[in-house]
């Protein structure tokens, strides 16, 4: 057994080293897959692993940001972590992160293990690496081509819960909170109503969500993010968690919030990110990190890959607001950011076909779970829709929410040049872009080349 483990360890380490030299910085599962191929029980043979010092972060949205934030806080406080920061969140990626933190004697060299875990593969990962601590960000509509419905994800997460697990859970998100009783201990966090909170009580077409316990409608007192906020089920009484960690006095303008009487600054000031900050703070504090260290860490945190970036076309700044495809909550968050800018502006919407899994397909139905009306009313000078396959669907969606058709430009193409030329025609230099990451990267690359 020992020979097999060490053969796996050395082979995987060598592979990881080669990949580091050839393609530095790229996360990969390959060394982990090699390790598991040689020794299927590779993880359990690593010395020094302790479930009490192992933290998983899972959920449909925000797990990368939350994981990275926790890691940043721990590192700022001088704690050594084994962590999968590159988003390699399947079993192969988890194994790679572990073996990189193993000495040649097969012993873990880190104080704690922190792993972002894909929600669908959590049961498999947990089988290899039983964690004593699980942070759940939320369980929402996401990647429906593989996840189908939120309940499918809820069931996956529920399947690993047991009395040995301490859960850190978003107390404002009903699906995630409904799992609290399945863990040995549950610590909840939340965010108080704030200037970005919204209501939709009087709107005939607005929909809430089913109570995960009794299936009657959940009533949100307010929404901090779509389907996240203080809530109650009037039928069974299921309600917002008793949030031990609660962000209050949230000031998005000055990027501060208060928690437990302490004031914190945060750099990425959207409601979605705020929940990641509070989740990370919760986990860190429960692991003994001081508020002082947390306060010191927050301002220096930088997102991997970026959430809000910009490109310059002529003298115009195109501000990119990233969304997660097929994910209405992150799209709504992006819409709200743009709607909150009351200045004249151009809005660009470049939805594309979904290319996460085979077969690629043209889903845009998630846009109908979103509300564009505040954005439409927010001094839009021009709206440019582009895409070779779903541009008409995007345009129809905007028209339904009141977009003036005279302001609407429909570009049935993905051609970077055509899109950039359309931007150059705009009078306004205040331009917002919502599109998928790969399209933004393509546009940024084109603009860079054009500038040479």
């Amino acid at each position: 057994m020992k020979i097999r483990f060490f053969a796996a360890l050395y082979a995987a380490k060598l592979t990881a080293r080669i990949i580091d030299i050839v393609a530095r910085g790229r996360g990969t599962n390959l060394p982990g897959q090699i390790a598991l191929k040689i020794d299927p029980k590779f993880v359990s043979h690593i010395k020094g692993l302790d479930p009490g010092k192992t933290i998983f972060v899972t959920g449909t949205n925000g797990k990368s940001t939350t994981t990275n934030l926790i890691a940043h806080i721990f590192k700022t406080a001088g704690v050594k972590l084994a962590v999968n920061l590159e988003g390699a969140n399947l079993i192969g990626g988890v194994v790679v992160s572990l073996l990189k933190n193993c000495g040649l004697d097969g012993r873990l060299k880190a104080d704690f293990v922190l792993m972002e875990t894909d929600e669908r593969f959590l049961p498999i990962i947990y089988k290899h690496l039983p964690a004593g601590h699980l942070c759940i960000t939320n369980i929402q509509k996401d990647q429906v081509q593989r996840n189908g419905e939120p309940e499918i994800i809820r069931r996956k997460i529920k399947s690993i819960l047991n009395p040995d697990i301490t859960m850190y859970v978003n107390g404002d998100e009903p699906n995630a909170l409904s799992l609290a009783a399945d863990a040995g201990k549950s610590i909840q966090y939340g965010v108080e109503r704030n200037s970005r909170s919204f209501d939709k009580k009087d709107d005939f077409f607005s929909v809430s969500m089913p109570c995960p316990k009794c299936h009657e409608p959940i009533r949100f007192e307010t929404y901090n993010v779509d389907n996240i906020g203080p809530f109650v089920c009037d039928n069974c009484g299921f309600e917002t968690g008793k949030n031990k960690y609660m962000a209050t006095d949230v000031d998005f303008e000055n990027k501060t919030f208060t928690l437990d009487g302490e004031k914190f600054s945060f750099a990425y000031s959207t409601p979605y990110f705020l929940y990641s900050y509070v989740a990370a703070l919760t986990v860190a504090k429960e692991f003994g990190i001081s508020y002082e260290d947390i306060r010191r860490a927050f301002p220096t945190f930088e997102l991997v890959g970026g959430r809000m970036e910009s490109i310059r076309i002529d003298n115009k700044e195109v501000k990119y607001i990233r969304m997660k495809q097929e994910n209405p909550e992150t799209l709504q968050s992006a819409i709200n950011v743009i709607a909150s800018d009351k200045n004249d502006k151009v809005f660009m919407l470049g939805l594309g076909e979904i290319m996460d899994f085979d077969p690629y397909y043209t889903n845009t139905f998630y846009t109908w779970d979103c509300d564009f009306r505040e954005l439409v009313k927010s001094e839009i000078e021009k709206c440019i829709c582009f895409s070779d396959k779903v541009v008409y669907d995007a345009a129809i969606r905007l028209l339904y929410d009141g977009m003036d058709e005279n302001k609407l430009v429909i570009l049935p193409t993905n051609d970077d040049k055509a899109i950039v030329e359309e931007v150059k025609k705009c009078d306004s230099d205040n331009i917002y872009l919502i599109t998928l990451m790969y399209k933004f990267e393509s546009l940024a690359k084109y603009v860079k080349q054009e500038a040479k």
Binding site: F205, C214, W368, K389, Y392, Y400
Partner: protein
């Protein structure tokens, strides 16, 4: 023929307050007892459990029907029934719609509707329209077999058995479905959209499908892949289809078909467009529904590439 611009301007009204549009009412469930003060007979649409069956942009279907009523000049009243314990006024409703929801919530909806089964059966006997799409279609089935071993009896309005799949199937879908007919027009139309299938659907002998697959997986796969080649199920005006999109915004002809048949059946006067124009809608749709037509062409081209 009404053109693209008119349809767009009508579309924009969908989210305005009900009082800005004549003969249009939108009423949430707490207002169910409210009496329509207008003398004009309205087409009555009931939106069942929008908060509970709340996924895949399903609310867009109701927006689509609402706009199409405006376009066709059909006076309409739409009401929501929000809670499972709410009493449904089946006698009032001409069209009942259950938008896509989670398979997990289906047993609760079946229980709620079984408590009013006599009224529901009377509704069905009047040939009124009941439509469910996505996983909500399971409500209408004979039986639902869950992965965890549970077997749930559905309402049995459509002779089909649902079996939860081990994995989700998501793709585009293209269906040929029988729809509107009058003296000049009859036959089938194309229905385009997406499919997120968490269950396989087997139709019992004699149960007609909603349509036949041109592309996609439909109930249980195309003929070429060993499946039935069927999509959905239909018995008179009781319809299940897996097509998402939303179905009623991406397929205006289907929405028009559903509404015109219901209006005709209920004796509701249509003032907005003439019979000739309605025929034109079904024979030459490119002018009236330009964006929708272009969308369909784009996505059909993409599907042909995938065939």
């Amino acid at each position: 023929m009404k053109g693209f611009n008119i349809f767009n301007s009508i579309r924009a009204k969908a989210n305005r307050k009900s009082d800005s549009i004549s003969n249009i009412s939108l009423i949430r469930s707490e207002g169910q007892t409210k009496v329509n003060s207008s003398e004009i007979k309205t087409l009555n649409i009931l939106w069942l459990y929008p908060d509970i069956m709340n996924i895949h942009g399903g609310r867009g279907n109701i927006m689509g029907l609402f706009n199409m009523c405006n376009y066709l000049g059909i006076p309409v009243e739409i009401r929501r029934v929000d809670r499972l314990e709410d009493r449904i006024d089946w006698n009032w409703a001409h069209i009942v719609y259950i938008t896509a929801g989670e398979l997990n919530c289906v047993p609760s909806v079946i229980d709620a509707l079984n408590r009013q089964k006599d009224d529901l059966e009377a509704f069905a006997k009047l040939n009124r329209t009941l439509i469910a799409n996505g996983s909500s279609g399971a409500v209408l089935a004979d039986e639902i077999r869950y992965k965890d071993g549970r077997v749930i009896k559905g309402l049995g309005l459509l002779k089909m058995i649902w079996t939860e799949r081990d994995s989700v199937w998501g793709d585009d879908i293209w269906v040929s479905a029988d729809v509107y007919s009058n003296e000049e027009v009859s036959g089938s139309i194309e229905v385009i959209g997406n499919q997120i299938q968490v269950a396989d659907v087997e139709l019992s002998e004699g149960q007609e499908p909603f349509g036949r697959l041109v592309y996609g997986r439909g109930n249980n796969g195309s003929l070429a892949n060993g499946g039935s080649g069927f999509e959905g199920a239909r018995r008179k005006n009781i319809i299940y289809t897996c097509v998402l999109g939303p179905l009623m915004t991406k397929n205006p002809l289907l929405a028009a078909d559903l509404l015109l048949k219901a209006a005709e059946r209920e004796g509701i006067e249509i003032k907005g467009v003439t019979g000739k124009e309605i025929t034109e809608i079904f024979t030459d749709n490119t002018e009236g529904f330009e964006l929708e037509s272009k969308s369909a062409e784009c996505i059909k081209t993409f599907m042909k590439e995938k065939m």
